[in-house]
Each structure stands twice: as structure tokens, then as C-alpha cells.
């Protein structure tokens, strides 16, 4: 199954605007995370939301989770040129013994914020 499908695949906005990215998944999850990747670089953790949570905020980030629709959204408010990056959702189905978490990533949304 294809877990973690983001849309849109690419999003181009002007500085100061809000950016919304969506992620859908197919199997049950324990946690959903959003990561950011600058071109050719590693992934940086942004925010985690647990399956029993509906909304979380961190600075200019707001993430929602709807487990009935198996979907999540990431909102970046007042975007800046430095927010230009690819954004990925990643899900885990919980422990497979101990505290090992296998993450399943989506294809990502490429966000371009134009100055």
C-alpha cells in the first residue's frame, strides 16, 4: 500500500502567504510526523502529532490529524523565502518490539516561497 501521500506535489506562493500541505495514509498509525528537507540535505523533524490528538501548534506551524479520514495537514503561516524546501509526512504504526519506530514517508510537497 502507498502510505503517506502528500498533495500538492508542488506549491509556489509569495512571501507572507500561508502554505497548506496535505498528507493521506492508508493503514492505522500511532504517530504522524512532518519533516523538512532542503535540496540535497538531510531531513529535519518539524512536528509530531499522536493518533489521539487532533491539532498541534509549534511556532508558525499548525498540524491537524483526522484519523477517520486518514489524513493530516501542515499549515505554515506567514511564509518566508527560507521556508523553501520539500516537506514530507511520515507515519509509524507503533513499536515492533521495544522503541523501534520504522517510518513510512510520503512523496513530499516541494514548497517554493518567492520573495
Amino acid at each position: 500500500s502507498q502510505q503517506g501521500e502528500e498533495d500538492p506535489q508542488a506549491l509556489s506562493i509569495q512571501e507572507g502567504e500561508n502554505a497548506t500541505m496535505n498528507c493521506s495514509y492508508k493503514t492505522s498509525i500511532n504517530n504522524l510526523q512532518w519533516y523538512r528537507q532542503n535540496s540535497g540535505r538531510g531531513l529535519v523533524h518539524l512536528i509530531l502529532i499522536r493518533s489521539n490528538e487532533r491539532e498541534k501548534h509549534s511556532g508558525r506551524l499548525r498540524v491537524t490529524l483526522d484519523t477517520s479520514k486518514k489524513s493530516s495537514s501542515l499549515l505554515i503561516t506567514a511564509s518566508r523565502a527560507a521556508d523553501t524546501a520539500s516537506y514530507f509526512c511520515a507515519t509509524d504504526g507503533g513499536n515492533s518490539g521495544g522503541s523501534n519506530y520504522k517510518l513510512t514517508f510520503g512523496k513530499g510537497t516541494l514548497l517554493t516561497v518567492n520573495p
Binding site: N30, Q33, R41, G42, H45, A90, N100, K102
Partner: protein, 112 residues
């Protein structure tokens, strides 16, 4: 802030050769992972490692792949006989045992 480091940043090898990708996880982390990202595709889980043994591996992680923690700081991924389709960005990650993982900058492997 502590970081996961990876070496080399770029490795070019010929098909059939062995490569070892190296990672230094964050020092107090106990759970270690390798992922790969073929150009333009999703980041894919390869293997997780805890307490000196593999916890879980994907179907990609076949007999050509192995992982090792040879000392208290390094975590390595070995590909015994590289294929063209092994060309990808390989990411190491570590965690303290929470879902949040810290990723290294990656090693770009090019197999010619």
C-alpha cells in the same frame, strides 16, 4: 545541538564493488536506522538496529546489505556487491527511543 554525521558525502563506485557508508549517531541515542531515497522518489526504510542487532528490516535489505556498530560511536551500512539500482541518497538516523528521529545529511551513492 548534537548532529548525526555521515561520511562520505558522495561515493562513486563501480558495479559489483563493495561500499561501506559510515554514520556517527548522536552520542546518547540507542536506536539507529538507515533509509534511502532514490532520486525523485520517497524516502524508504531499510533497517533499524538496537542493542547490537537488527530490530526490523525491509524487503529492500537483502543479503547484499549488512549493518554493524563496530565501536561505541560508528554505525555502518555495507553493500557487498553494488548494483546500478543501488544508486541513491542513503540517510542514517538515530533516536532515543521516541518516534522522532534525527537524520544525517546523507551519502549520495552513485554506482556506474
Amino acid at each position: 545541538e548534537p548532529e548525526v554525521t555521515q561520511t562520505p558525502s558522495h561515493q562513486v563506485t563501480q558495479m559489483g564493488q563493495e561500499v561501506i557508508l559510515r554514520c556517527v549517531p548522536i552520542s546518547n541515542h540507542l536506536y539507529f536506522y538507515w533509509y534511502r531515497q532514490i532520486l525523485g522518489q520517497k524516502v524508504e526504510f531499510l533497517v533499524s538496529f538496537y542493542n547490537n542487532e537488527i530490530s526490523e528490516k525491509s524487503e529492500i535489505f537483502d543479503d547484499q546489505f549488512s549493518v554493524e556498530r563496530p565501536d561505541g560511536s560508528n554505525f555502518t551500512l555495507k553493500i557487498r556487491s553494488t548494483k546500478l539500482e543501488d544508486s541513491a541518497m542513503y540517510f542514517c538516523a538515530s533516536s532515543v527511543g521516541t518516534p522522532k528521529q534525527y537524520f544525517g545529511p546523507g551519502t549520495r551513492l552513485t554506482v556506474t
